[in-house]
């Protein structure tokens, strides 16, 4: 209610539809405030969109949201031009960043943004929810870097929910940084790692023939989810090492 300290509120929306000629149309492509969307060169039938941060943020008190939908038959790829950096703001409140992904039957959404960096002193709650209709395909990457180089992390809560055909496939919340529940940097949770990443791939065929779980080196693992999906979780000293593991998994499953 305080006009001086309340942050930015903005929602960016993109909707993709099959254009009936073997390609994908974007009937909705609307950025807002600091969230700009640019259509970039298509890749075959796949429409490609870049999320461009028009200013730094999210800052404390900001409420940002992105909604991306691939309707039946559409193929949509969303990337981002740069890492998102959570920074402390003048507002005392935490910032929120909500991502809503919707994938129709026979549609594909590839959500592959750059890292989220939780800078020292920032406080951010991220929620990502993906609803994939039966028969839909999703590739979703999330990476968090805890602090910029040599810096202590901010407070970050990141919730990831993936539903396939209306059934919960994955519900996870990672909480870290100053003030997070105890043990977040201990041997059960992060043990000093400053980057964590996840890759979720949903494909109907994984429901019939699940991929076998396996460790990927010492600090990452691949596991089938309870339904038509797989999950790769990777920890690392820095974001580059995590990206390397996820890129390899992306080549195999993406």
């Amino acid at each position: 209610m305080d006009g001086v300290t309340s942050g930015v509120r903005a929602t960016a929306r993109v909707r993709a539809r099959a254009d009936g000629r073997g390609g994908t149309a974007l009937p909705v492509l609307a950025g807002e405030g600091p969230l700009a969307l640019r259509r970039v060169r298509a890749h075959g039938a796949e429409a490609r969109v870049m999320l461009v941060g028009a200013m730094s943020g999210p800052l404390g008190g900001d409420r940002l949201a992105v909604e991306a939908e691939a309707g039946a038959g559409a193929r949509l790829h969303v990337g981002s031009a740069a890492a998102t950096i959570a920074l402390p703001g003048q507002a005392k409140d935490a910032a929120r960043y909500d991502v809503r992904l919707t994938v129709g039957a026979d549609a594909e959404l590839r959500w592959l943004p750059e890292q989220l960096i939780s800078a020292q002193g920032s406080e951010l709650a991220v929620t990502t929810r993906a609803d994939v209709a039966a028969g839909g395909r999703l590739v979703l990457r999330e990476e968090q870097a805890l602090g910029r180089a040599g810096e202590r992390p901010g407070r970050l809560t990141s919730r990831l929910s993936v539903y396939a055909g209306g059934r919960a496939l994955l519900e996870q919340e990672l909480s870290c940084g100053p003030g997070a529940p105890g043990g977040w940097d201990g041997p059960a949770v992060l043990a000093g790692c400053r980057a964590v990443g996840q890759l979720v791939v949903v494909r109907p065929e994984f429901g019939e023939s699940p991929v076998a779980a396996r460790p990927l080196g010492e600090s990452a693992a691949l596991t089938p989810l309870p339904g038509p999906g797989v999950l790769v979780t990777a920890l690392g000293a820095d974001a580059l090492r995590v990206r390397r593991v996820l890129d390899e998994a992306l080549r195999e499953f993406g």
């Binding site: 919960a168 201990g186 460790p215």
Partner: protein, 224 residues
């Protein structure tokens, strides 16, 4: 029934197979992340606030009578590691057998029929608590405490840690176990209105990653 039933259910000697599992401690010890009492305490603290809270929330919700089928789906989604889903169901099946002998009830019979391979252990624990005349707080306490007592007991064997030190770790964690059990019971009550989506879903990446590596070992002391 009252407090004594809770002691029976929470007793480490209750024959539900928990002693065969280390709660991720075996993998953490092998990797050098747990080396003594101090790192064991941080390990247990992290486990308590993540998978401990998740388990306790599920158990509280089941103790309140929320459909075990819905909760089992919620437990699956909150257990991304396939190895840990297998371990959780195996423990659930053993707990179902022990609980049916201890507190015969139609709800436990029904659970055994619906989940011949076992429902997730915290869900079974909540239904068992109901059968024993216990409430959501009791069920949450069982799971929250078990989330730290399991690894602590296992580490005594894995590291030849002084059992007095392991018990001191548990005593130091007790106030946090109280808070987690309280939060879990609260979440269970919220789930009555809002559905299983309201239940906690805390993630512990090293537990999940370690579990897949551990499951691939040829020789191990503990099943998980």
């Amino acid at each position: 029934m009252g407090r004594a039933a809770l002691l029976v259910l929470a007793d480490g000697r209750f024959p539900a197979g928990g002693h065969a599992h280390s709660g991720g401690a075996e993998a953490a010890v092998r990797a050098g992340r747990v080396t003594g009492a101090a790192s064991l305490e941080e390990f247990c603290r992290g486990r308590l606030h993540t998978s401990g809270l998740v388990s306790a929330g599920l158990a509280a919700a089941a103790a309140l009578g929320i459909d075990p089928g819905e909760l089992d789906v919620a437990a699956d989604a909150r257990t991304p590691s396939a190895a840990l889903r297998v371990a959780g169901r195996r423990l659930g099946r053993q707990l179902t057998r022990a609980a049916r002998a201890a507190w015969p009830s139609a709800e436990l019979d029904d659970l055994a029929r619906r989940f011949p391979k076992g429902a997730h252990q915290p869900v079974v624990l909540g239904v068992a608590a109901r059968a024993a005349g216990l409430g959501a707080d009791d069920a949450a306490y069982c799971c929250a405490y078990e989330s730290v007592s399991g690894p602590a007991t296992a580490t005594v064997r894995l590291l030849s840690l002084d059992p007095f030190e392991a018990t001191a770790v548990l005593a130091r964690l007790a106030p946090e176990v109280d808070r987690v059990a309280g939060a879990a019971a609260e979440a269970g009550r919220r789930a009555l209105d809002e559905g299983a989506g309201a239940l906690p879903s805390g993630a512990a990446p090293w537990l999940e990653i370690g579990a897949e590596g551990h499951a691939a070992w040829g020789v191990r002391l503990f099943a998980s």
